[in-house]
């Protein structure tokens, strides 16, 4: 591929937009510290509602493709998120899904186990701490007087990833993305400015291998005879956590974080998303666990014993799809017919 300079400007325009997010991604960017100054030296920030006082009108006023690089974080949960994502796509040359929510749906993506009605019923009705005898639920449109009404965005039943909505150029996964990947933005910006060859479209920032490659714990034998709780278990700090029966998502998760959780003996929870050759992170892990759990004497196990073995896994979807449910092959619970 021949390199094509996408901008002639001396300084780039950078936007950071959001969907349903905890803003941990914003904090992670701020955590760049001194390097943040370098970043600001390379780009003018034209939109970052969390940190500066930008309005949507500021964004709408920009021309098409006027923004050079946009980081988008958060899950798409509402019409507002969708609208912003579409505008960002239109106004940006390079759109990057930043963080697990934008890349794979993230924690808010677990909403696909329920739907809007169930959520509203719980939050505004059934919760023990709620007193709502009149059954008042939020409405999307509120009439203030005859001529004026205000509207709230519509909440979708299903959470989506950015790429399910618009074309995405690059992905920087992680919850939040690890510092070394965020720092990678600086050389990318320099490349954009200098007209160097940019990474292939669809590139996921991170390792080309799964996390086990970076993990320093000792691997001996992958046959496991039970699942244990990492909080109550006595953990051998030298040995592979999965081999000790702790559900560590490392084997199915893209590396690049330098095993930051495992280094403090917490199992990988999979925030970096599926490995480069994996379509569906959760199903891969389920199939791996099913393959090695109790395999030693499998033929002699009774159904009850197998059930007991599996009962160590407390929350199947929450464990295996903690960050990737909207991106999975089966990405939501069947909706109840009403």
């Amino acid at each position: 591929m021949e390199s094509k300079k996408i901008t002639d400007k001396k300084k780039l325009k950078l936007a950071i937009g959001l969907g349903s997010t905890c803003s941990g991604c914003d904090i992670a960017i701020l955590d760049l510290g001194v390097k943040l100054l370098e970043l600001i030296g390379l780009a003018d920030i034209v939109f970052w509602p969390t940190v500066f006082d930008f309005k949507y009108s500021d964004l709408k006023e920009l021309g098409d493709k006027e923004i050079d690089i946009t980081l988008h974080h958060g899950t798409i949960r509402t019409t507002e998120h969708e609208e912003i994502a579409r505008i960002l796509r239109k106004k940006s040359k390079v759109l990057i899904a930043f963080g697990s929510c934008s890349c794979f749906g993230g924690i808010p993506g677990l909403c696909n186990l329920t739907d809007k009605k169930q959520i509203f019923d719980a939050v505004y009705g059934e919760n023990l701490s709620v007193a709502n005898k009149e059954n008042i639920f939020p409405e999307e449109k509120l009439l203030i007087n005859k001529n004026k009404s205000i509207t709230l965005p519509h909440l979708f039943d299903t959470g989506k990833t950015l790429k399910q909505l618009v074309e995405v150029d690059y992905f920087i996964p992680g919850c939040p993305p690890p510092m070394q990947l965020i720092e990678g933005l600086i050389p990318l910006m320099k490349d954009v400015l200098g007209g160097a060859q940019l990474p292939e479209k669809g590139t996921v920032f991170g390792s080309k291998k799964t996390l086990c490659d970076e993990c320093t714990l000792k691997k001996e034998n992958k046959m496991i005879s039970k699942i244990v709780n990492p909080v109550t278990a006595i953990v051998d700090p030298e040995r592979c956590l999965l081999e000790q029966g702790i559900l560590c998502m490392g084997p199915v998760t893209r590396g690049g974080c330098e095993a930051r959780c495992i280094n403090v003996l917490m199992p990988c929870r999979g925030c970096m998303g599926p490995g480069p050759e994996t379509e569906d992170q959760g199903v891969k892990m389920i199939s791996a666990i099913a393959s090695i759990l109790g395999v030693k004497d499998e033929e002699n196990l009774t159904d009850q014993q197998i059930e007991d073995l599996l009962s160590g896994i407390k929350d199947i979807v929450g464990t295996f799809y903690r960050f990737t449910l909207p991106d999975a092959l089966l990405n939501r619970k069947v909706k109840e017919r009403r």
Binding site: T210, C212, E220, G250, P251, G275
Partner: protein, 651 residues
Amino acid sequence: MNRIGVFICHCGLNIAGTVDVKKVAKLVSDYSEVVYATDYMYMCSDPGQDMIKEMVKEKKLDGVVVAACSPTMHETTFRNTIASVGLNPYRGEIANIREQCSWVHQNTKEIATEKAVKIIEAIIEKLKLDKPLVPLSVPVTKRALVIGGGIAGIQASLDIADSGYEVILVEKNQSIGGHMLQLSETFPTLDCPQCIATPKMVQVGQHPKIKLLAFSEVEEVSGYVGNFKVKIRRKASFVDWDKCTGCGFCMEKCPAKVPSEFNEFLSKRKAIYTLFPQAVPNKPVIDSNNCLYFTKGKCRVCEKNCSLKAINFEQKDSFVEENVGAIIVATGYDLMNKAEVGEYGYGKYKDVIDGLQLERLLAPAGPTEGIPYRPSDGKIPKEVVFIQCVGSRDPEHYYPYCSKICCMYTVKQAMIYKHAVPDGQAYVFYMDIRCNGKGYEEFLQRGIEEDRILYLRGRVSKIFKDGDKIRVWGADTLTGRKIEISADLVVLAMAMVPSKGAKKLAEKLRLTTDDYGFLTEAHPKLRPVESLTAGYFLAGAAQAPKDIPETVAQASGAASKVDSLFSKDELYHEPIIANVDEEVCVGCGICEVLCPYEAIEIDEQDKVAKINPALCEGCGTCCAACPSGALELEGFRRKQILSMIKVFAEV
């Protein structure tokens, strides 16, 4: 762009009777990258195959889908067809529209037709991504290992050795011969096993191509078909067999007396002993658990009496390594553990014995020289009760299967008993009588008519001691009467089970067994002497209960399979095997523990999984479990499977 041809088989009415094959051909001819589609009465026939060949040439096809029966039937046929006109055989695929479609949807023709189209389209998607593959070739070591020196192992060894190939025969006991040598006579001809089996044993002992390793066990096997490496433990016999001539003087002088295993504990043997006088090799071993020198620290009588200085109390187990190309497993059977069956008084009453014990009592060379003196007081029993199916055909308590030989050996034993005790009476409690061999039914009738064996159809409800008699309560379900017999001897036809240690050996050899430990054959009908793992063959009762003629036939079958394997200098191995993408693999080790063929090893240096292509059987277990997606099964890559699923998912 592929140029794919689709050939749809009617299979007579098997497919065309349910699936509208013309419509299917028309629909798939419009599918992407399909340049030709047609249907024909029998694709596997010569004209059918010729049509495929012509069309490959005429339409310049680079891939062929035959929509027909299961790939296990004709995949090889059609791959050879297209290979004969220069196409890579792995660019040929079968779409199974018979077993997976027409046969199961006979009443819903329209749906069947729709489904047939989907199946074919999915296979087309797979074919689009099929790479041309080349079989791997590996050299063959033309030596065979036979494990077990019973009649199965003896026959197999002789057959292979007579074809000119070297055989290593490993036997755990100090002599070959197995259970057959314990028998009194054999049904239905009443041949004496000593007369028919010992010549074969001698042949084994003298055959220049057979290396007999008696009193030895297989310790470890590595490698793969054509190239196995076997480690064999030669157990310490404490007798230097090279010096020993088998004169037997040591056995005469040995003061220690031990119950004889060969005589089923009905007589005593010495602590230094051979199994029986015609043993091959005819060399003794010292039973260190019962030898006075080993247990008490003094004696050494045998040593003093051996003029050849062959006794060596210092001897240790030693190991030999052999390279072989094929392995026959003929580990035989045992009768089920008698302690398991409590209800018939076995172990409680001395005169309740099992079938093998009666064999020894009736054997002319046995402890009683063929006269069945009963174990308790040495009286000649006048009333003998035989109980069939003890442990067999009893899924609630023991084993669901039929042990197959008991019906016949009971006739035989009752008959020989009558010959030894003409005024005695034999009763047989049975469930069904199964005499389905050549001359078997006639043998039974002879027993009933000439020897007046009394057959009672029913089970025994209680056995208890009554003076020096054993009272047997039972039922005759044909007459509806209760039966009560005061017996002198009760014989239990115990279930046959795989021999002790066979399960452990199977694990070492990576062979699969059924629920009861019998070795699994590759196909119950069409590949009965092969194991699922290439290079391993099965013979005798290790695979399932069977009688001597069947065992010998299977042993010869296994031997001829080995011969045909050795007739080639190189073996071709299916290229449908797992591949590792070393760029992606992190060496997590999940595949390594799962591989049933031990084909995967984690390279400690590179931290990636390495596959030995000759060992891989392409089962795909590792690929399903691989969490990083580094493993792919050639011919069934993830992309292929996903593209097939996509076809089916589009409604």
